[in-house]
């Protein structure tokens, strides 16, 4: 059991990070979380989270409903207040590294009646790089178009966003993250209630990102596809139950060892949850 619970932490190099360095010299891991506790109202939602994520991995974050997966992500991005702990992106606090971080929120978080085209939404990914006041230029639109091609929605560029299906909306969000060209991506349930085509498209994008050395953290529900999609796994249930290479953490033998007889129950519960649209986290 012991070796399954925690990989040897990757050496943490603090304070040496800098935004401008080329990728090969990135200091620190893309995400290191230490002691993170978040509480809503009076009860903690996640407790004492310690995480070290190595660069260039596709990281699945799994756990039962209400385990705090989305909360962990939002706390890393400072979208919810932390009760304690620290989060470092490439060795620096998040605020200093915003430009390196891409966020793909849950689909329900925005108003899909908003009067913008698909291309407009994807171009929003470039706003951070543009900064204040500079208008959206041709180059941004070009980047947005490239990203749309990657998710297979180039033909839809000038549609209004409400005319897309749920899966297509999810791909638009993903394209927006691609246009942002971040180095570490936080994706909140991108596979929730999407069609098979979208699921394939998302997997393709994830692999493309991995090839380019990017790190992706993905909140995921379906244990059946975990091995196939991710090479690193974080099992979360208020605290980190296990974190490590999927091959080590998620082998049948290891799972039996970790969960005892509960595995079938667990995967059943997880599958049932993933079938519910969006999950209720």
């Amino acid at each position: 059991m012991d070796q399954s619970l925690r990989e040897r932490p990757v050496a943490r190099l603090r304070g040496a990070g800098s935004v401008g360095l080329p990728e090969e010299h990135s200091p620190g891991s893309p995400l290191s979380v230490h002691d993170l506790t978040v509480a809503y109202h009076r009860k903690p939602v996640i407790w004492d989270i310690d995480l070290e994520i190595p660069e260039g991995k596709l990281v699945g974050i799994v756990g039962p409903n209400g385990a705090g997966k989305s909360t962990l992500m939002k706390a890393c991005l400072e979208l919810v207040p932390r009760s304690s702990g620290e989060v470092r992106i490439f060795g620096e606090p998040y605020r200093a590294q915003r430009k390196l971080v891409g966020y793909v929120p849950q689909r329900e978080s925005v108003d899909w009646d908003f009067p913008v085209s698909v291309l407009d939404v994807v171009a929003m990914g470039t706003y951070g790089r543009l900064g204040w006041l500079r208008p959206v230029n041709r180059r941004c639109k070009g980047l947005a178009m490239e990203a749309l091609e990657k998710v297979g929605l180039a033909d839809f560029a000038h549609r209004q966003i409400s005319q897309l299906s749920g899966g297509q909306q999810q791909r638009v969000f993903l394209a927006r993250a691609l246009a942002q060209d971040a180095r570490v991506y936080f994706m909140d349930e991108p596979f929730a209630a999407v069609d098979a085509a979208t699921e394939r498209a998302i997997v393709g994008i994830l692999h493309d990102l991995k090839r380019r050395g990017r790190t992706c953290l993905v909140v995921h529900h379906d244990l059946a596809t975990v091995e196939e999609y991710f090479d690193w796994l974080v099992m979360l249930n208020m605290r980190v139950v296990a974190s490590g290479p999927t091959a080590e953490v998620f082998t049948a033998e290891n799972l039996r060892k970790t969960y005892g007889g509960k595995l079938t129950l667990l995967s059943e519960a997880a599958t049932a949850v993933s079938k519910e649209a969006g999950g209720a986290e």
Binding site: M1, G63, G68, M238
Partner: protein
């Protein structure tokens, strides 16, 4: 709070206003207001109190349906109805001062406005807020147009209309009193009779519909109730300030309770109290518009509730959040010390002179604490008698601290094992406080958890199991 300060200013204002009257007459006034000696004052006080009760009840439903501003749209939408009714009455009876006719007109267009809001929302992509804004401004605009026609009508003065717009609380007459009391009684009866149905509708409309309840009819009934209170209240406090009666007491009540029945009762109480106190204050200080004073009284009660509400109040929540943070810090400290001492052996001595001091630097590394934060945490633990501080060199646990550290660490590790072994049950929001582990999991399960640990990690002599994972 700046708002609190603002309201304080208002009370100072009131105080000075009251003091302007000579002391003797002031005492007389006070007595006559409190004891309801004066007939007119009595009428006004009782009317505004009843109105407050009715407003609190009707407003509670609006608040729970997340439609508080519907009262806003509704009260503005009454204007064209009032003016039309006035014109109608002038045309047929020669005078437009009939209160009953005016409020009938008000009720008709007010309800029509609500229905239009609901229609816009369900038929177009325009959202709630814009639909209310559209109805409010367009209906009111139409009212203004009609009013400008009336003002040029040679037949009658518009005296009766003025009071509808700003409220003429002080000039209520017996007929108004009957109307207001009637409305209050009706809203009381309706909320009692339909208590169960309204609760279901507020809580879960979809479920209510699936159970076969006529939700649309209930919705309209609820809006009728609000309309009734609004049109009756127009006379008392005016077109803008009746909105306050529909929102503020209900919002105040919400700060004190999460139970539906209690909320209705409290909202009625807050509404009644605001009406009584506000009208009383304005009777004491002539020249102050009663409607405004009533609203400010209600607002003062709201600020009080906002601060002092036992569960949702600002003070309670701040205290709670701080206590939680402190508790987490304290447990981190105790567990951190335990883990450092544990390196010397599986069942370490935790307290006593033979135990070495733990240097500050070691603890800092244990947690993501800055030296300053750590000193704060240790200082608070010291005050609780958990650690002895040796200023420069480091920290040592007291006997009590040692017991607490062992308990905290044991609970923490048992929870860890539990979450690993039984991860299919998400114990979301369990309170993982000190002794809670036995209470929640039960002694039997804990024995099983302990038994499931590998031999090397069995609980040591002090009952603390070894950590199921390497400690860094």
């Amino acid at each position: 709070m700046r708002k609190g300060a603002g309201i304080l200013c208002v009370f100072l204002f009131l105080a000075t206003a009251a003091a302007e009257a000579s002391a003797d007459s002031w005492r007389d006034d006070f007595a006559s207001v409190v004891l309801l000696r004066d007939y007119n004052t009595r009428l006004v006080l009782v009317s505004t109190t009843l109105l407050g009760i009715a407003g609190g009840l009707a407003g509670s439903f609006l608040l729970l349906r997340k439609r508080s501003l519907m009262g806003d749209a509704l009260s503005h939408a009454t204007l064209p109805g009032i003016v039309l009714a006035f014109m109608f009455a002038v045309h047929f009876t020669g005078t437009g001062r009939s209160f009953a006719v005016l409020i009938t007109g008000a009720a008709v267009t007010g309800l029509l406005g609500c229905v239009v809001v609901l229609l816009i929302r369900s038929l177009t992509r325009v959202k709630d807020d814009a639909a209310m804004g559209i109805v409010l401004s367009v209906f009111y605009g139409a009212g203004v147009v009609l009013l400008s026609i009336v003002q040029h009508m040679p037949e009658a003065g518009t005296a009766g209309l003025e009071s509808f717009l700003y409220g003429k609380t002080a000039s209520m007459v017996r007929a108004d009193f009957y109307l207001v009391s009637g409305a209050a009684v009706i809203s009381l009866i309706a909320s009692l009779a339909l208590f169960k149905e309204f609760r279901l509708l507020c809580f879960d409309e979809g479920y209510a519909r699936s159970m076969g309840w006529p939700t649309h009819a209930l919705d309209v009934l609820m809006l009728l109730l609000v309309t009734l209170v609004t049109v009756v209240g127009l006379q008392a406090v005016g077109v803008v300030l009746i909105i306050a009666f529909l929102i503020i007491p209900a919002a105040s009540a919400r700060m004190w309770t999460s139970r539906f029945g209690w909320m209705l009762a409290l909202a009625a109480g807050f509404g009644g109290a605001s009406g009584w106190l506000g009208a009383g204050l304005s009777a004491l200080a002539p020249g102050l518009p009663a409607g405004a004073v009533i609203v400010l009284t209600a607002a003062a009660l709201f600020v009080l509730s906002l601060l002092a509400g036992p569960d949702r109040g600002v003070i309670a929540r701040t205290v709670r959040a701080r206590a939680l943070k402190r508790r987490v810090e304290r447990q981190h400290l105790l567990r951190g010390i335990y883990e450092v001492l544990e390196e010397s052996g599986p069942a370490p001595h935790l307290a006593g002179d033979s135990v070495p001091l733990i240097p500050w630097a070691v603890l800092e590394r244990k947690r993501s604490w800055s030296p300053r934060e750590l000193r704060g945490v240790v200082r608070r633990a010291y005050r609780r008698g958990l650690v002895e501080t040796m200023d420069r060199d480091g920290v040592r646990l007291t006997d009590a601290g040692a017991r607490a550290a062992a308990r905290v660490t044991r609970n923490h590790r048992l929870w860890e094992i539990y979450l690993v072994e039984y991860a299919d049950i998400a114990p979301t929001h369990v309170d993982r406080d000190a002794d809670a582990v036995e209470h929640i999991l039960g002694a039997g399960l804990i024995r099983r958890l302990e038994a499931s640990l590998p031999v090397a990690a069995r609980p040591a002599a002090d009952g603390v199991p070894a950590s199921p994972h390497p400690i860094r």
